[in-house]
Symmetry: C2
Subunit: 340 residues, 2 copies
């Protein structure tokens, strides 16, 4: 089982693969390209036996699990970063803290089609992927060992994707991750002073000023945040204040999928299908109050390299001002059939 180790100085957790860890010769000397031919792709229809048994699939009524016909399919990760079996055990080793690596690691296969991605899928398909996110979120929220569920997507090899077939991932952790704690603490600090949600204030200022807004629909808006760390970093925020993604309504889900799909398409067209990561920021599991967080999704195109300065200070150097990025993204011409 992997270990969770806590840095005694910064209190940051790290997942360490203590068994079957990589040896020096296991690391590629050159960046690798995707090596698996489609016929052997474990996420392609017909190869359902190459993955662990499915946890969820949207498929025609009556069709047997782990057979073709599905349009969204969720399976456990074959090489999980955290293991689903066992109880959380915590202990100390001198000055160091340790927790065993209990958690969940799942793959959301977003389409049966190998060569597609959310930017060029139908809005309906993206919405179904979001429904799969929500279903898995709600299922894992029932597991009292799990304190946080992260849903995220790595697009292309340089953004960390190890398979080309379109997929998202879910990792659930036995503690609230440090960056989520930092967001909640920041929002709490702001709320204690102003008695308002910092995200709600941000939405209101952005809509007033307009220069960093890329799109708006009934329930969501997409902005290039004022302190973007990455060129063309984009946040998709619900207008309605809720701390948890799990609180999304049916109507909001449609609006969310439309905003996400359109932003990914604008980025795809403007930057020639760049590598990116996106992450869904939400409250810890079983948070019943709506204070101190406002769930949203962050898209980070990977156009530049994070290097020594960022690693030594935490300060990112963003070479494209968000106002300029927003203006370019707004100007992308989109045909009606591209966002259907």
């Amino acid at each position: 089982m992997p270990e969770l180790r806590k840095d005694p100085i910064t209190q940051e957790w790290v997942i360490v693969a203590v068994e079957r860890g990589k040896r020096p010769s296991d690391f590629p000397r050159e960046p690798r390209v995707f090596e698996i031919p489609t016929r052997k792709c474990p996420f392609c229809p017909g190869n359902e036996q190459s993955t662990p048994p499915e946890l969820l699939a949207f498929r025609p009524p009556g069709s047997p699990p782990n057979t073709p016909g599905w349009w969204v399919r969720v399976v456990p990760n074959k090489y999980p970063a955290l293991a689903i079996e066992g109880e959380v055990r915590k202990s100390g080793r001198g000055i160091y803290d340790y927790m065993n690596g209990v958690g969940a690691h799942e793959v959301i296969i977003e389409s049966p089609e190998h060569g597609i991605s959310p930017a060029i899928m139908s809005v309906k398909q993206v919405e179904d992927v979001m429904w799969a996110y929500r279903a898995r979120y709600l299922d894992l929220e029932g597991d009292h060992r799990l304190k946080y569920v992260l849903l995220f997507r790595n697009h292309k090899r340089v953004a960390g994707a190890s398979l080309e077939h379109p997929h998202s991932q879910l990792i659930a952790t036995p503690m609230v991750p440090q960056d989520v704690m930092a967001e909640m603490e920041g929002a709490t600090r702001y709320e204690q002073y102003h008695e308002r949600c910092v995200y709600c204030d941000m939405i209101s200022q952005e809509l007033d000023e307009g220069e960093r807004v890329v799109l708006e629909n009934e329930h969501f808006l997409a902005i290039e945040p004022y302190a973007s760390k990455y060129p063309f970093e984009t946040w998709i925020l619900p207008r309605r204040h809720r701390s948890s993604f799990a609180a999304i309504s049916n109507e909001e889900q449609t609006s969310f999928a439309a905003a996400l799909k359109e932003m990914l398409l604008r980025i795809y067209l403007l930057l020639d299908d760049p590598p990116y990561n996106y992450t869904l920021h939400t409250a810890p599991t079983r948070t019943t109050s709506d204070e101190h967080l406002h769930w949203h999704l962050e898209i980070m195109p990977r156009l530049t390299i994070t290097a020594g300065f960022e690693m030594g200070t935490g300060i990112y150097i963003n070479v494209t001002a968000p106002e300029l990025a927003a203006s370019h993204l707004r100007e992308v011409k989109i045909a009606a059939e591209q966002i259907a």
Copy 2:
């Protein structure tokens, strides 16, 4: 002038290039190789006019500045992330905070030889580079606008180096960066409880246990830290507790250069000259107390890709346990002439 913008939620600063920012077409579609032939390299001897005038050079007595003959040379960065002219101005824009991008950005050219790197330089040359670090640090510490000085090295393109010629960089900022604050706060928390330095305790536990120690010399040790974020992450720590690198003695400097050079060589031999970043962690400028920090250098080989999970949680997945990494690094065979 670049801007420093503060994230209203996490309070993290970002440097934003508001003028001459990169447009969508400025980002490479494919990873680039080093494109500059040696004869045009701005850091090679004979091309001194291609850089801004030198701030410091180790060269034969009486030889004129900005001419060949030097063995270490420091120049301002031609494309600085922060600008050296002007006063620090701070203001608000609605909920957002802003500071103008005053600071320093310098390049330490580590050798006249284009194709070398610290792993294969002489220890004496590495020591001279460290003397250049210290001289520039002390000079900038006198500038009261600057609150922090980061010295760092990006090795190879995938670790963010834009030129092949061996060089380090220095960036000085008008505020204490968030990650330095976090380290100091963490060390303070530990000290308030235990009345001991967390780094001193770490050194003592590591030397007792031995399994994560790679090398020791008179004044320094090199370990693979317990909560390493990266495979083969290495810290070089002084045995003597001092918060600032500026406090290093002549004797310690020799010992520091020997430890750094040997660790870079071990990594070079074991992992076939991998890309890496290193960063020098030290107290903010003009820190007079030795509490709450213990200066050290962190080396982070770039063997894996930081992706959505790390970006959404701050939790790194390290696929090589530090105990295994230390064992491999200790076993590297080194000939006496390689560390002379």
